[in-house]
């Protein structure tokens, strides 16, 4: 993809003395977030297919494309509906506050009812017919309104009703090739079906169209998680990869991935940020190097969240605003936990120095979450980030590769902004590690996450005599010296203290 683009650009460069062929311009859809994914919009004057299984919101994309065009860009549109009767369609999208009937009355929208309902009452004597009347009606509506946009909903459903599939294909080809000649940008929705013979028709549509956007949904634990993937957009560039979207009270909202920035903020590794735990800073060689991403890995109750809160507290005391992502507990619960440590989160939030983000533990939209983090960091001018915890994403119906991808994006963002971060990760198997086995206890997932982060702090429980003790040690710290000692960690009275473990009483794994 990239090399051929470069070749094309090079070819353009050579031909620049002669007439230059401009790439298709982009037409903003107006659908929130989608134009970001499309790098500006749909290729103007071309046809793009939006495909997906039933219930993936194809019709809503079609309707919103036209609604935004008419209301935000002053571009009249034509909606061609093959499946839903116009009155149903109008009613179905009224909930988003879109008054399509008003647009029709004002001459900003025309609805061509190519309803296949009536085909049920039509005798198909032979296959000597065409769908030319549909084309004629669309063209007439486009010319009457001076339309700039056409959305064709559920063209593929005609395949079910007519024996003459060639007629349907011909209509589709006409839509693709001739609407552009009328200065119209087209969105065609198509049902995606696996089984023959539909697959062939769907294939043809996908080959012929200039653009293809696939909609998907999966039923997660408590809600439907929707995503879209731009498969092609002829002649123009776009962002690849699946992105989440959802429906809210205003329509579709797409959460584009945050741009991957290779740029690194100018951070001074020599500059150390206090971890907020006075005993920990010398262990880290003086504090956390600025811009580092620290992974705090440990079992439940070992103090991961507390370490994060102390890190935030030290930051706020030093005039460094922070973003805290609380997935393990609700924001309110975290405020209470913090208050018990003498940290009034609420006050800092009011002063605009701290942003607290909480998301439902189940069915987290990661793309949305990234957006929330980016926006919050910009809003408060964050210098520090606490993410508690990465492992809760895994329990929130994400697989480990997704978690790794998310972390990778999050790290890119923190590096680009020069944020110093503490990310916690729950490791249940860590329970009862023996001293000699400490390194061997690292799970494969940890190792894989390890390459993404700059430092790892391990927390675990052991039994020492008749006591359960928390142990802390720094496993890794990029570009810095650090202590390799194992410390006993004590939490109490709003403080975290470390002391050398000592050799007196042997530690035992908890059984």
């Amino acid at each position: 993809m990239v090399p051929s683009d470069e070749r094309r650009r090079a070819a353009n460069g050579r031909a620049s003395s002669r007439a230059r062929v401009a790439p298709p311009r982009k037409l903003p859809t107006g659908i929130r977030g989608l134009d970001n994914v499309l790098w500006g919009g749909l290729p103007e004057g071309r046809a793009t297919v939006v495909s997906g299984r039933p219930g993936t919101c194809k019709t809503i994309f079609c309707a919103e494309f036209l609604y935004r065009g008419a209301t935000e860009y002053g571009e009249p549109g034509v909606l061609v509906t093959f499946e839903e009767p116009p009155e149903n369609l109008i009613r179905n999208v009224a909930g988003f506050g879109w008054d399509l009937q008003a647009l029709v009355d004002e001459g900003r929208l025309a609805i061509v009812d190519a309803g296949i309902r009536q085909l049920a009452e039509t005798e198909e004597l032979d296959e000597g017919y065409t769908l030319a009347p549909v084309w004629v009606r669309i063209r007439h509506a486009v010319e009457t309104l001076g339309a700039r946009r056409v959305a064709v909903d559920a063209l593929s459903s005609v395949f079910d009703c007519l024996g003459n599939r060639g007629a349907v294909r011909k209509l589709f080809l006409k839509l693709c090739h001739e609407l552009g000649g009328l200065g119209v940008t087209t969105l065609v929705s198509a049902e995606e079906r696996g089984a023959y013979p539909y697959a062939r028709d769907a294939d043809i549509m996908q080959f012929v169209a200039d653009g293809l956007i696939e909609l998907e949904m999966r039923v997660a634990q408590q809600q439907i998680v929707r995503s879209l993937t731009v498969r092609k957009l002829r002649g123009v560039s776009y962002r690849s990869g699946a992105v989440d979207f959802e429906l809210d009270e205003h329509g579709v909202i797409v959460y584009p991935k945050i741009p991957i920035e290779r740029r690194m903020a100018r951070t001074g590794l020599r500059r150390r940020l206090s971890s907020g735990v006075p005993d920990l800073d010398p262990v880290l060689g003086g504090g956390i190097p600025e811009g580092h991403v620290m992974l705090v890995s440990g079992n439940t109750g070992t103090g991961k969240t507390l370490l994060g809160l102390h890190f935030v507290r030290a930051g706020l005391a030093a005039g460094e605003p922070a973003v805290v992502v609380a997935l393990e507990e609700s924001a309110e619960q975290l405020r209470r936990t913090a208050a018990a440590q003498g940290l009034a989160l609420k006050r800092h939030e009011r002063l605009g120095r701290l942003a607290l983000i909480d998301a439902p533990l189940i069915d987290v939209f990661t793309d949305k979450l990234l957006y929330d983090i980016v926006n919050a960091a910009q809003r408060v001018g964050a210098r520090r980030l606490v993410f508690d915890s990465l492992s809760s994403l895994e329990s929130a119906s994400m697989n480990r590769d997704d978690v790794r991808a998310f972390l990778s994006q999050l790290v890119e963002f923190t590096k680009a902004r020069g944020l110093t971060s503490m990310i916690s990760f729950l490791v249940p198997e860590m329970l009862g590690a023996e001293q000699g086995q400490l390194l061997a206890q690292l799970r494969v997932t940890d190792i894989r996450l390890s390459s993404l982060v700059d430092g790892i702090i391990l927390l675990r429980y052991v039994q020492q005599g008749s006591r359960i003790r928390r142990l802390l040690h720094v496993l890794k710290l990029r570009a810095s010296r650090h202590s390799t000692d194992i410390f006993a960690m004590t939490i109490g009275h709003g403080r975290i203290t470390l002391e050398p473990l000592g050799t007196g009483v042997p530690c035992q794994p908890i059984r």
Binding site: Q118, T122, D126, V136
Partner: protein, 115 residues
Amino acid sequence: MSEQPEQRLRLRLYVAGTTLPSQRAQASLAAVTSDLPAAAVELEVIDVIADPQAAERDNVIAAPLLVRLAPGPPLRVIGDLGDHDHLRALLGLAPQDPAQKVCVEKSNSSASSGS
């Protein structure tokens, strides 16, 4: 046999331009109604390319489309109407006499093999 007004065959044929299917459909209609007195058949032909608004008003999707307005319940048939026997049956017309039928079948088969 006296013609009742309501028994007059009222047909409307929507075509899309002067394409081959349009011509075939019109020829077929002429053939199956040729035995009827002229006053017994009312045929209106609408070219949707010339009159897109009619297509919009009557929700026409495919052409040629033959609509029987009367007598009996509304009937819609799409295709180039090449199967005369089927078309007669749909329109409630008497079958053609067998001698002529052979000719029609021959011409039909030659037409279909040529297409």
